[in-house]
């Protein structure tokens, strides 16, 4: 029985695709057969973040329209044999997605995969609603910033009213907060909302805090999910989040300002 996890946020540019790529890769690294689906029809980017943009032949919509079968459209990751990507269509619009079509694909994938990660487009329109409709769990990606927090609250409302689980009165979608682009220095200076502030407003369990990191841009430049970067604190933070997603109790890191030693200061290390 596959677990369907939607990565969503409402607001754009907060790190949904980065998170989908990192969490999906992290689950695969731990031996779980995982597929990441790009739901952003017309604006696909998961392929770039995963570094497989030149291997896309068929996409999600081709499978929906029976122009290709699922195995032709799935791209196997070159770094990990447990990891697959299902790209979004770049040429169609969001009306190409239907709830029935999405269900057909998800149930086919559920036969062979342990985890299905749905990378949601920004907004609260059709594409985002399709991505979250069948979800068992939701990772709500939020920046410590007013508009992102407000939009996250909005998407939580949609998860609680317009998902399949909400409509059938089933056990509700399990919600997780993932705070990204967190800068402890600015929090200490009173310039940025703290983890506790955001937790207090959204009132959902915290899955992880990803520090603002240069490694994230570097990773997307290279097409390698940041979780593969063993030297990056953002990568470590994603590893922790994956462990918590699997039920492990892990202490939160990167919440405090790192104290610099005298030598580091003199050498001007960042």
């Amino acid at each position: 029985m596959a677990e369907i996890i939607v990565v969503t946020s409402g607001k754009g540019g907060v790190g949904k695709t980065t998170t989908s790529a990192a969490i999906g890769s992290g689950l695969a690294l731990r031996g779980h057969k995982t597929v990441i689906i790009d739901f952003d029809v017309g604006l696909r980017n998961l392929d770039l973040i995963m570094g497989c943009e030149r291997r896309v032949v068929y996409d999600f919509v081709n499978v929906l329209n029976n122009e290709a079968n699922l195995n032709q459209a799935l791209i196997k990751d070159k770094r990990n044999e447990n990891l697959f990507i299902l790209p979004a269509s770049q040429t169609r619009d969001k009306d190409a997605l239907t709830l029935d079509g999405v269900q057909t694909i998800l149930s086919q994938l559920a036969e062979t995969f342990d985890y299905i990660i749905c990378d949601s487009p920004a907004g609260i329109e059709k594409g985002a609603q399709m991505a979250l409709y069948y979800a068992d769990q939701a990772i709500v990606v939020t920046n410590p910033e007013v508009s992102s927090v407000r939009d996250s609250d909005r998407i939580l409302g949609i998860l609680q009213s317009k998902s399949l689980r909400a409509e059938t009165g089933d056990e509700p979608v399990k919600e997780h907060l993932l705070l990204t682009r967190y800068n402890p220095t600015r929090v200490t200076d009173g310039e940025m909302l703290s983890v506790t502030d955001v937790e207090e407003i959204l009132a959902i369990p915290l899955l992880g805090v990803i520090p603002e990191s240069e490694a994230v841009l570097k990773a997307s430049n290279q097409g390698i999910p940041v979780i593969f970067d063993e030297t990056a604190d953002a990568g470590h933070a994603y590893h922790d989040a994956v462990a918590r997603l699997l039920g492990e109790k892990i202490e939160f890191r990167f919440l405090e300002v790192e104290k610099k030693g005298l030598l580091k200061r003199l050498l001007g290390a960042k």
Partner: protein, 84 residues
């Protein structure tokens, strides 16, 4: 400005302002979330009817719908102007 002010942090704590603003707007939007879609339009039409007889502003009327298990209460509050 005294010399002591120089040592005090003169940064305004913008994060706490963000927190206050968020608490207000999120609470307000959550209140709207559980309302049926027809409520804003119905509220507007009720106000139009009252306006035919009494000069009032939109913000002097509040319409809320409360759901207690098995029973919904539509509450209409009209603040009448104070002229006898």
């Amino acid at each position: 400005m005294s010399i002591f002010d120089y040592f005090k942090s003169n940064k305004t704590n913008s994060a706490s302002l963000a927190m206050e603003r968020l608490q207000v707007i999120v609470a307000h939007e959550r209140g709207m979330r559980n309302q049926p879609n027809y409520l804003p339009k119905m509220q507007q039409e009720i106000i139009e009817v009252i306006k035919k007889y009494i000069p009032i502003d939109n913000d002097q009327v509040s319409v809320t719908l409360d759901n207690n298990d098995g029973c919904s209460i539509l509450e209409l509050n009209v603040t009448l102007p104070n002229n006898n």
